[in-house]
Point group: C2
Chain length 337, copies 2
């Protein structure tokens, strides 16, 4: 008993040392290349109180694209695969679909013919699967699907096709008192049911494309009903607009992977003071995919051309990441507040 203060002190010192050791490398899945060094240098400069680049915690806003930046987007966007699964699931309730494009082609498995209808056809497929139910019902549909649906090429759950290095970045920024947002071209209500669990990002920090909703009483009980009408398309020029609408201030760091993120990166890095822009370049056909200028999904061309003059870091997946996918460690890596 006499030595209790001493033993407490020892415990304290040991845990501090252990914590420091853990903190020593916040980004273990990143190789020690320029990309990693630049990210860490940025974070240290904006968080050190005596730094000329210091930014108060309240202004430490970071935005991440989702498809291709936090999880895989090949061979097509996950939400498109959800849409197709969902179409097949509800087809029995739509006896008219076998005689109606673009549904007929989808049900026959001919996606090329379905896509021939262009944007109008795609909008019809999306609305048929994403609208017409309450927000609560849609949430359940997404939760059920994401729990079991598997990637056509890897057979992994989609939530296992999340990039470990990017998760480490999110956790690192959160530990440094950044408020982290997702700003995605994907559907806001398609992401929110699982972003807290998978990324540690709560629904109110998820921004995306949306359809309109309507407040409605049914037997005196209120519901929000999803309508087949676009509310906002959160891509390209839409991203800074949505950032302003939802967050109300300019991020100091932005992370993307395609030209759909160009304006978000541009908006973020043209603010005053030190800023960080990072583009994930998919260069790893062995571990993931390799695509950029000519890809229909996640095209990256202008972003590659301008990265140097804009001061954006291009993270080369093959060279800069020593690990791509999250593993079973997911639960511990992504626990949130």
């Amino acid at each position: 008993m006499k030595n209790r203060p001493l033993s407490l002190l020892i415990v304290f010192v040991i845990s501090s040392l252990a914590a420091r050791a853990r903190a020593a490398d916040p980004l273990p899945s990143w190789n020690d290349t320029a990309a990693k060094q630049s990210v860490i240098a940025f974070v240290e400069k904006v968080t050190a109180k005596d730094s000329p680049d210091y930014v108060a915690p309240v202004d430490r806003i970071a935005t991440f694209d989702n498809d291709g930046t936090l999880w895989a987007e090949q061979p097509v966007y996950v939400q498109l695969l959800f849409t197709l699964d969902r179409l097949r699931e509800i087809a029995p309730q739509h006896p008219e679909w076998p005689n109606q494009e673009p549904f007929a082609s989808v049900l026959k498995g001919d996606l090329k013919a379905a896509a021939a209808g262009g944007e109008k056809a795609i909008a019809e497929l999306v609305m048929a699967t994403h609208a017409g139910m309450t927000t609560a019902a849609f949430e359940k549909i997404v939760v059920d699907w994401i729990a079991t649906a598997r990637h056509p090429q890897t057979d992994k759950l989609y939530t296992e096709m999340v990039y470990q290095p990017m998760l480490e970045l999110i956790d690192y920024l959160k530990a440094k008192e950044f408020k982290v947002f997702i700003v995605s071209g994907g559907g806001i209500e398609f992401m929110r049911p699982w972003t807290q669990r998978v990324y540690g990002i709560p629904p109110e920090q998820v921004i995306g494309s949306s359809i309109k909703t309507k407040y409605e009483l049914r037997d005196g009980k209120p519901y929000l009903v999803r309508l087949p009408a676009l509310n906002f398309f959160d891509d390209k020029e839409g991203k800074p607009v949505a950032i302003n609408h939802h967050i109300g201030r300019r991020p100091i760091a932005a992370f993307g992977n395609s030209d759909g993120d160009y304006q978000m990166l541009e908006w973020t890095t043209s603010g005053e003071g030190l800023r960080l822009g990072l583009v994930v370049h998919h260069t790893d056909a062995d571990r993931e995919y390799a695509y950029d200028r000519t890809s229909k999904i996640g095209q990256l061309s202008k972003g590659l051309d301008d990265a140097k003059s804009k001061g954006w870091i291009v993270a080369d997946m093959k060279k800069d990441w020593n690990r791509v996918w999250i593993g079973k460690a997911l639960d511990t890596n992504t626990s949130d507040k």
Copy 2:
């Protein structure tokens, strides 16, 4: 030196006791009536870990209306007074206005004639003053105005016409790990420049009505430009829609004062589990204003009729509040994280 651990212990005990004394009454400007007791009982039930009504911190979402709930809205909304001031300020740049309604009437001081043009006239006045500049320029206009403009009847700054009891509620909820949002019919960009300073609520937790914005490059530098087109009207049925869009989950507590808040209260309190709805009833003509069913601003009629059956607390300003306005203590009361 020998007694250092002991003196540290004493300091610790004393500060703990002082903190407990301060914490003893989190709502000192509320009289000890049923309203206050119900609020505290709710908060204690949802935050006590062993309570059947326990809610995890991540789900502790509270929403507050602004006009008439957090600050005064009589004789007319503050934003309308801003609009009129602004019209007079920029009138010299609009030589056509003296011959053009509704501007001509406003410049002559005949608001009744201006209002005769109905919603279309009001929209024209709002767009003429709120659109056509960058978001940064508009923010500066608001910051400059709110720093000096004074209420026509009290001669106070508008930010001094904030209700101390409601600020105490915000601080109390924040201390209990609630995430507090403003959900107002007022303009989102009219509030965000000062809500952090005055209420301790950061811009990303402010939801309101909005006009459209456009991403634009000028000499290679990006700007967001405010367009003369309504984006969203955040009132009545719009409030639950906006809550879902911005927050992505249902609040467990909502605070309003007019029938414009009815659906927000209804949406909040029809969720499962324990919920809190509170309506501020303006009953104090001496210290503030007394108005409800027949007022053109902040009309409260259906809310009064249904409060009892819906289980909403009606806070009677005259009976329940021992103090109305914030005082010079503002800075210490509203500091944020």
